[in-house]
Every structure is written in structure tokens, then in C-alpha cells.
């Protein structure tokens, strides 16, 4: 693969905002001549930042799953649902297809993000050349599907706005949904702060 030169080998930097190909200078604070964004060979402190955001996301992910996210009040009955019991209820009473979609968005996608970003980070830290094309593909997958986890947060918000039959029936959000929303935001920031170019920075012959 020697026919594929990388930017730093040619003394070039691609602007991460506008994509302009710029010549690398010795100055520390060089800026893109076209859009003015800082020119950096790699996102600064990418590994440390991504780890920090990922660990923070995992910490709020625990209460997000343990605490109930929604309360349904009807005469003589108060029903609190966590993410998982909400999915079970949807499976039993509503639609199994939708239950699978919600399960994917709320459980599979966040778990996948933790596993994939964790794996990518460990590989980068060890300078591993293992499965580089697959790791690149996994990162793009995470980027593409990351925001779909917000599904359950929106469902709770919509139900809260719609189910307001004063004494008869109402829906209220519970703290779990806040933790879950924060999990999604933090994992998205983690994915954005990871620099996929590091996957290909492992030293040695190709």
C-alpha cells in the first residue's frame, strides 16, 4: 500500500472543517486560510478526551437503565417504567416490530458505542494494526447511528405532552430519562472527539 501516501508524509494537513488541503507549517497555531479553523494534524488529546467522555457516559448510563424513565398515572394505579420494562410492555401490548426498533435504539446502540469506542481506543493506545479496515467501518457505523438513541427521550416527551387528562390519566417523565438523554449526548461527544485517523497511525511496515 505504499502507493497511498498520507498527508503528514507529504507535509500536508487537511482542514477538518472545510477539507482544504494545506501545507504543514512549523508554526504551532496555524489556521486554515479558507475557513480560519485551527489546523491540527490530529484532534488534540483525542484519546484522553474520548476516554473521559466515554467513562462519564457509562457512569450516567447505569442510572439511566436502573431508574424509571416514565410514570403513567391512571385512577387507582401508578405505573413506573424503566427503559427495559417499557420495551417489554411495547412487545406485549403494542407492536413487536417497534419493540425491536426501540430495543435497538435504546439498548443495542449505546452498548455498541461503549464496546466499539473502547476497542478503538485500546487498539490505538497499543499501536495495533489489527483489523484496521474493520475498525474504520465500525467508527463510521457509530457516527451514523449514534443519534438514534435519542428515540426514547423523545417518546417520553411526546407522551408527557399528549397524556394530560387531568384526574383521569397522565404521563410524567422520571429522572431516568434525564440520565439517558445525558448518556446519548456524552457518547455522541465521545464519538466526535475520537480521531479515526489514529487507527492508521500504527508504526511499522504496511
Amino acid at each position: 500500500m505504499t502507493a497511498l501516501p498520507r498527508a503528514h508524509e507529504l507535509g500536508l494537513i487537511g482542514c477538518h472543517v472545510c477539507g482544504l488541503v494545506c501545507r504543514q507549517t512549523s508554526r504551532q497555531d496555524s489556521a486554515c486560510p479558507r475557513c480560519g479553523s485551527a489546523l491540527e494534524r490530529r484532534k488534540p488529546d483525542s484519546v484522553a478526551r474520548t476516554w473521559a467522555l466515554l467513562i462519564a457516559a457509562f457512569m450516567v448510563y447505569i442510572p439511566a437503565n436502573v431508574l424509571p424513565i416514565m410514570r403513567t398515572v391512571s385512577p387507582g394505579d401508578i405505573d413506573d417504567n424503566t427503559i427495559l420494562t417499557g420495551i417489554v410492555e411495547l412487545w406485549d401490548k403494542g407492536s413487536q416490530e417497534l419493540a425491536i426498533i426501540v430495543f435497538t435504539a435504546s439498548i443495542v446502540v449505546p452498548m455498541l458505542k461503549f464496546l466499539v469506542l473502547g476497542t478503538l481506543l485500546i487498539c490505538v493506545q497499543r499501536g495495533s494494526k489489527w483489523a484496521q479496515p474493520q475498525r474504520a467501518r465500525l467508527y463510521r457505523l457509530i457516527e451514523l447511528i449514534g443519534h438514534w438513541s435519542m428515540l426514547d427521550v423523545f417518546v417520553v416527551a411526546i407522551l408527557t405532552a399528549l397524556v394530560r387528562f387531568s384526574l383521569l390519566s397522565s404521563v410524567e417523565p422520571l429522572p431516568g430519562v434525564i440520565f439517558f438523554g445525558l448518556t446519548v449526548v456524552l457518547t455522541m461527544f465521545a464519538a466526535l472527539s475520537f480521531d479515526p485517523r489514529m487507527t492508521w497511525d500504527a508504526k511499522g511496515s504496511e
Binding site: G14, C18, K93, A105, P133, H147, F154, I158, A161, F165
Partner: protein, 200 residues
């Protein structure tokens, strides 16, 4: 057209090729899409953005669904949902829904529309640089398509207890989702090359 291209995912440098209809340039090292041939010219894109903006306004003015129980009816718009969340329940959730479903999509569409109106005459709109940078950072945080699925799930969940009726707002949002999918294949970064690099 600049002659060089750098893959944003792996830093590989390429000589740029002229693409013809249907062609996609893919990075030989990591498989990322480098560039697509664009089906839409600037006029078509402008029309699409204006359509998206109109549909977005409709989707926000009209309620998305109505529930009824013992003759009592409640309907809600997207903004009702944001307002109720913010004032009665959780400000954090209110803020997250407000920015990802209302402010960011609106800013994105208005920004792109503004740039395209000038780009049709090969001119850089006032604020071109800032708007291009803003759109780059807002991109991942617009979630209108997730909202459509959210309404669908909420309606199915509510169906076991109430009479549920979809309202025009959700149809407008469904159309918006289709338009967003079309836009997913368009890289607005080509505007940097398309309009001349001189102050307006």
C-alpha cells in the same frame, strides 16, 4: 476545483478525479466516501431546501397527534412538547429537545438556503464562512428523523389506553424525513469550491 483531496477518516492524499453521474469516490485505504457525484445542481438544491423549510414550518404549526379519552381530546405540537418539558418537568430534556428538534434543524436549513440563494449567482453570501462552519458543527445534532419514529412509538404505546389519531404535523415531518435522507447524500462543503473566494 482543487487538485488534491485528503480522506478525513485516514489522512490519505488523493489526486481529485472528475466524477460522472452515479460515481462515488471511495478511499482505497479505509473505505470512506471521499466525494460523490451530485445529482442536484444549485437550483435544484435551493428548491429542496425551500421545500424542507415549508414542510418544517407546517410540521411545527400543526399538531402531530391527538389523543381522546371519554370525549376529552388533547393534541400537541412539537413546541407544546418542548414547552411542557421545560416549564413543568425537566429543563435538561426541554433544552435537548428544543435544540435537536427545533433550533438546530431550523438554523441548518435557513443557513443552507441563504448560502444557496447567493450561490445561484456564483456569489458568496454575507456570513458565508461563519455559516459554513456553523453547519459543519450542527450537522450531527439535528434529529428530526428520530422525532418521526418517536411519535410513531408514542402513538402505538398510547393506543392500548386511548383513541389515537395522527395529525397533519406528523405527515409533514414524514415528508421532511424523506428530504433529509436526500440531503444526506449532499456534501455542503462543495460550496467552498463552487463560489469564488473573494469577499462579497
Amino acid at each position: 476545483m482543487p487538485r488534491w483531496l485528503i480522506c478525513k477518516d485516514c489522512d490519505t492524499v488523493y489526486r481529485r478525479l472528475e466524477l460522472t453521474a452515479g460515481e462515488v469516490a471511495v478511499c482505497a485505504r479505509c473505505g470512506a466516501v471521499l466525494e460523490r457525484h451530485h445529482w442536484f445542481d444549485i437550483d435544484a438544491l435551493t428548491a429542496l431546501v425551500l421545500t424542507a423549510l415549508i414542510v418544517f414550518i407546517q410540521g411545527n404549526l400543526w399538531p402531530v397527534a391527538t389523543l381522546s379519552l371519554n370525549g376529552q381530546e388533547i393534541s400537541a405540537t412539537l413546541w407544546d412538547m418542548i414547552r411542557i418539558m421545560w416549564t413543568d418537568h425537566s429543563r435538561i430534556i426541554g433544552a435537548i429537545t428544543a435544540v435537536t428538534l427545533f433550533f438546530f434543524p431550523l438554523l441548518n436549513m435557513m443557513g443552507l438556503g441563504w448560502l444557496l440563494l447567493f450561490a445561484r449567482r456564483r456569489r458568496r453570501a454575507p456570513g458565508f464562512r461563519l455559516l459554513m462552519i456553523m453547519m459543519h458543527y450542527l450537522g450531527p445534532w439535528t434529529m428530526s428523523e428520530v422525532f418521526v419514529l418517536g411519535v410513531l412509538v408514542a402513538m402505538v404505546k398510547a393506543k392500548s389506553y386511548f383513541d389515537v389519531m395522527p395529525d397533519p404535523g406528523i405527515y409533514a415531518y414524514a415528508v421532511l424525513t424523506v428530504l433529509i435522507t436526500v440531503f444526506a447524500g449532499v456534501d455542503p462543503r462543495r460550496l467552498w469550491d463552487y463560489v469564488a473566494d473573494r469577499p462579497p
